[in-house]
Symmetry: C2
Subunit: 193 residues, 2 copies
Amino acid sequence: MDETSQKIIDATMSLIRDKGYVATTTKDIAKTAGVNECTLFRKFKNKKDIVLCGVEQEKWRANLTPEIFKDVKWELQPDLEMFMEKYMEKITPDFVNLSIGLRAPQIYEETAPMVMKVPQAFLSSLIQYFEEMEQRGKIPHLDFECLALTIFSSTFGYTFLSASFDKKLSGIRKEQYIRQSVATFIQGIPERK
Amino acid sequence: MDETSQKIIDATMSLIRDKGYVATTTKDIAKTAGVNECTLFRKFKNKKDIVLCGVEQEKWRANLTPEIFKDVKWELQPDLEMFMEKYMEKITPDFVNLSIGLRAPQIYEETAPMVMKVPQAFLSSLIQYFEEMEQRGKIPHLDFECLALTIFSSTFGYTFLSASFDKKLSGIRKEQYIRQSVATFIQGIPERK
DNA sequence: CTGTAATGCAAGCGAGTACACGCAATCATA
DNA sequence: TATGATTGCGTGTACTCGCTTGCATTACAG
């Protein structure tokens, strides 16, 4: 990948993150990349092609692979916190906004599989973790798929809400959220009947 | 609101839900509404005006007000399930997709306050519920804001993921998800040290 | 029957869109 | 110094965008 092509891809992805695919024009891209507009079409087939090259790049993919979650201690609290931390480290508000910018009918069919890989990686890693925890006798048998979905949803939900509304919705910081929600998942809400 | 204007608004909001604001053209709207294109501009100032009229309408707002959550029994399990059920009843995948379609720089500043009302209503209702539960001696004092955010995030997260990936990500049904995740929130994950 | 409001229809505006082409300038390498 | 690849620049094309205008048609109310 030559330098010029990379500049074009970077400009394209940044603009899509900020304005969405349809609102991002080739003129915009050229200006942002600091190249002439016709250079885009010398390097790429068309506008769509730039985006598809972009989503293939590690740089513009949240590189969230199952290996990231290998660092487990087989203790619920530190492990669940690690899962959430690693996710939020990779899935920044920028990445969330990019994912939404890619939701245009003209390209979504091709970009959706890439976007979906992130939640899939998180979910399958977490389910696998729970299964191993059960085998180690640390937790009983549960509906791990559903449990993982609950934990993932709350992780994703917080990330998305932060990306959308910043601190306007809730001032709770990431670290506090992780600590408290993991505590809830493990201990539950103490109830006095 | 005359019938023609309503048809125009309905067509506009449906198209934005399906394709986003920028990709929705006035020609599209006219065709979908079954009216002539110039009629749009007789009834409304411009394209943006149609959308702003739309988001003001009850029909195109998730009518999620605090009153919806008044039906509480002051018992954690049925109450939390009710909170999640009511939310998912109102916030359909269609509404989620519409909210995302409204995320265009040209209109977002004006539409965001409307969109944000939904999570705000859920969060403040849930926090208020927890405070009342504490006063009734049912639960101890906790970081209710953070707890509410956890429960809301997992509710919203599931809703959003369903809207985005349908059943491709996880086949878990709404009812099962609500039941299981509330059980987790209350009892926690049983741990054997 | 007459006046008025709502709508359709055809045409068109200026601006912007993705994309194409020819040509000159640049630059590393041979 | 000569060559070939890369890029900038200007111009251009075919089309779509939001939006406007003038005029014909309908329908209903006084």
